[in-house]
Symmetry: C2
Subunit: 462 residues, 2 copies
């Protein structure tokens, strides 16, 4: 099935490139909006303009929510006023708001003005919610019945709206004031007697979310409690809309990407735009701050090396192990911080068990450090004499190997604790743990690693 879609996609791309009009027209109805959007996004500017003309207006409604802001602008700007009005009115309200939030403000204002009065009012009220809040993400097309209806009245009521409603998998029950009083499944209506009163079959709506809460909380509730739709309410418990499971999937994916980028030292919120549609300038803007801060921090490592010049120059063999001691710390600290950050964003670590986590990471670091330190030190003890490496007379090979063992194992243990401790501390002080990410820890342990290394060498063999 996936194969067929891929073949179709390749065929249409070829048809576009060879400007085979008939084939394009024939293939478009075969493809899902998601695939057409994907094809469109990967065309050159020229071919985009060529291809978009073939897509009927009613299909553009499905494609718009799937493309980048720039593409959405281009698609609108290619149309006359009348078609613009049709397109913007036919979008689902949550998609419309999402697109209006992302495109150029001028175009956004113009498109809103094309809407009919009631759609305009609804759109403007939705635009008041923050883009990343539950209200900013919800759809107002919700399957809704009144608590005093019978099953038959409920079905009749839903029949009128059902073609425009995203999900009827969950139906919400409200009272005269539009307050949420419970939920139903469509099956409860479909399989019950028509004269059954809804208030006898209504179930408690255990989960709901306030419109101004973060969309991430909505996604978590949907995931944790396996919900198909989460009702969004205001402070008076009035039903405003729903967030559906497919929204939750998108939100969770965006959050994962944000975590991943922060772990790699990349700043800022993840934009809706995929990699290929992000400008070089935006990429640079997101990467520069950390790169710069980390470069400045690295000066401290350099200062420590300067400080121990006499030790390094009198036993230059130390340079052979220096990068290893330093990077082993960075790597183990990076592992520990990544695992802890991920566990925290999946809500697996509570404030109460932080100490247990630290004790665990201490043991993990100590065991890893012991094994790797012992291995490197043993190899050195055996191999160094074979290479005729010069060691000053006042230093024995045994002492040298012990010092290398201590430096590596202490550095890995300490880095592991630091890698676990920093994200936990960040959360304690209400900073996003993912910001205290691997590169920060790597750079910090570079500094401490050099100190540990020279200090052990100095006090142990000099």
């Amino acid at each position: 099935m996936g194969q067929t879609t891929n073949d179709l996609k390749l065929a249409i791309v070829e048809a576009i490139e060879t400007q085979n009009k008939e084939l394009i027209q024939q293939l478009i109805p075969e493809l899902h909006a998601f695939d057409i959007a994907d094809i469109y996004e990967n065309l050159t500017e020229e071919l985009k303009t060529y291809f978009i003309k073939f897509i009927p207006l009613e299909d553009k409604v499905d494609i718009l929510p799937e493309v980048s802001a720039q593409s959405a602008e281009a698609i609108f700007e290619d149309l006359d006023n009348k078609s613009q009005r049709t397109l913007i009115s036919e979008l689902k309200d949550d998609d419309r708001v999402d697109i209006l939030q992302r495109i150029e403000p001028e175009l956004s204002v113009k498109l809103i003005s094309l809407l009919k009065k009631d759609q305009q009012d609804l759109t403007e009220s939705l635009l008041r919610y923050d883009e990343s809040s539950a209200g900013g993400r919800m759809t107002t097309n919700v399957g809704k019945v009144h608590i005093n209806m019978s099953v038959k009245e409920g079905i009749d009521n839903l029949r009128e709206i059902y073609e425009n409603t995203g999900t009827l998998a969950r139906i919400f029950v409200v009272d005269d004031d539009d307050k949420l009083c419970g939920k139903l499944r469509l099956r409860d209506l479909a399989f019950n007697n028509w004269d059954t009163p809804i208030n006898s079959i209504v179930q408690e709506a255990n989960h709901s979310i306030l419109a101004n809460e973060d969309q991430e909380l909505a996604a978590k509730l949907i995931k944790d409690y396996d919900l198909l739709a989460l009702p969004v309410i205001n402070e008076f418990n009035q039903l405003l809309g729903v967030i559906t499971a497919d929204d939750a999937m998108e939100i969770l994916e965006q959050e994962s990407t944000e975590d991943i980028e922060k772990i790699a030292g990349i700043s800022g919120e993840v934009s809706f735009n995929p990699y290929m549609q992000t400008s070089i300038f935006s990429h640079i803007k997101k990467r520069f701050p950390w790169l710069f801060i980390l470069a400045i921090m690295a000066i401290f490592s350099g200062m420590i090396m300067m400080r121990f010049e006499s030790i390094l120059t009198s036993l230059f063999l130390l340079a052979l192990y220096l990068p290893m001691v330093v990077s082993a710390g960075g790597n183990s600290g990076g592992q520990a911080s990544t695992v802890i950050i991920r566990a925290m964003s999946l809500d697996e670590i509570s404030l109460q068990n932080s100490l247990k986590v630290l004790w665990g990471e201490f043991r993990i670091g100590a065991i890893l450090g012991f094994i790797i330190g012992l291995f490197i030190a043993s190899i050195s003890y055996i191999a160094l004499p074979l290479f005729d490496v010069e060691i000053p007379a006042n230093i024995t090979l045994k002492n040298f190997s012990i010092a290398i063992f201590l430096a590596i194992s202490i550095q890995i243990t300490a880095s592991n604790i630091a890698g676990a401790l920093l994200p936990l501390l960040a959360r304690k002080f209400k900073v996003d743990p993912a910001v205290i990410a691997a590169p920060i820890i790597t750079t910090l342990v570079d500094v401490t690693g050099l100190l540990i290394y020279f200090w052990i060498i100095k006090s142990f063999i000099f």
Copy 2:
């Protein structure tokens, strides 16, 4: 709403710790199975044994799928044969298979033997699918109607099974041979005349997946095409089961965690067990291989330092910049590889536009390198004289600053390209790109960075 749940959870944890039986019994029915599982997992071994006795058998059915393998074993082992039989039979078939795959083989065999013949056969046939395949993840409780039925017959047919069926949001239509011929929404049945023939309202099932395909592909189809349920078929197009949107969410989360861990240099598949339930030994086993390989690789950096001993000792000021040059490369290479790996796992980069990606990353690296190199070199040019740093007579401050500029900007540019190139190459050669992760790139560019640094210094100022 989230607040209330948290308060309840804190209250019950306190009740468990103070062994307040009445309060525990009173609070359990207030909580969702997910929350009870969460509370249970975070108790000490002793309190787990105490708390589990309060949970009625019918609630254990909902809790089992949410707990770790060890906890599932403990819960079963605490029961007599009769209760074990009730519990294992009442689980949904996909949950049952999932649990049986995770627990000790002996216990698994015993539990299967307790099942009735038909459940035993079904379970055994499902266990034949790989845990990470679509067949291993599907549920066989699927809303299914025959193509020759009327709407009324369809509803009657579903009524019999609907309480045990996970989702009726999508109903699948089959023929005499159980072959998939299309799909329906429950609303299509609920809102149509009872004597409408189903074959007049059936819609094409555009997406399906073979049982032995990877579950990740199933999750991608569900996400990309906003499906509520994806039918799983065999090679004869016979309907075997469905994968639902909430399964897809779990699969995607697991995949993200795997990507994140690989980016941080942690091996292996992500286990179902959350952080706190994973043993110290498993943590070490997953982290050791990379840590070890990277430590060995770092020896090459040490060898390069040894090789350039004379340069470093004759101008020890070079040590001040050495860590910065090396780590700036590691950081920018890590950023580039992470962004590319994530974009690839979201299917944003195709093989065809790899060259475009590399050209983009070259420009990003060059601009970042130019800015950061220029800044550091300018500061050095101004600040070094103020600190009375010794520079040998044959080297001018200007030449020294230009060399630092060149080293930093070349290192950042080269690392950025390496960071983008390696994951692209990995995919080309069918290796998981996330394996060529940040730590590998960091360690590689440590080596090349040192070479670039000393080579530029040697040819430019000596």
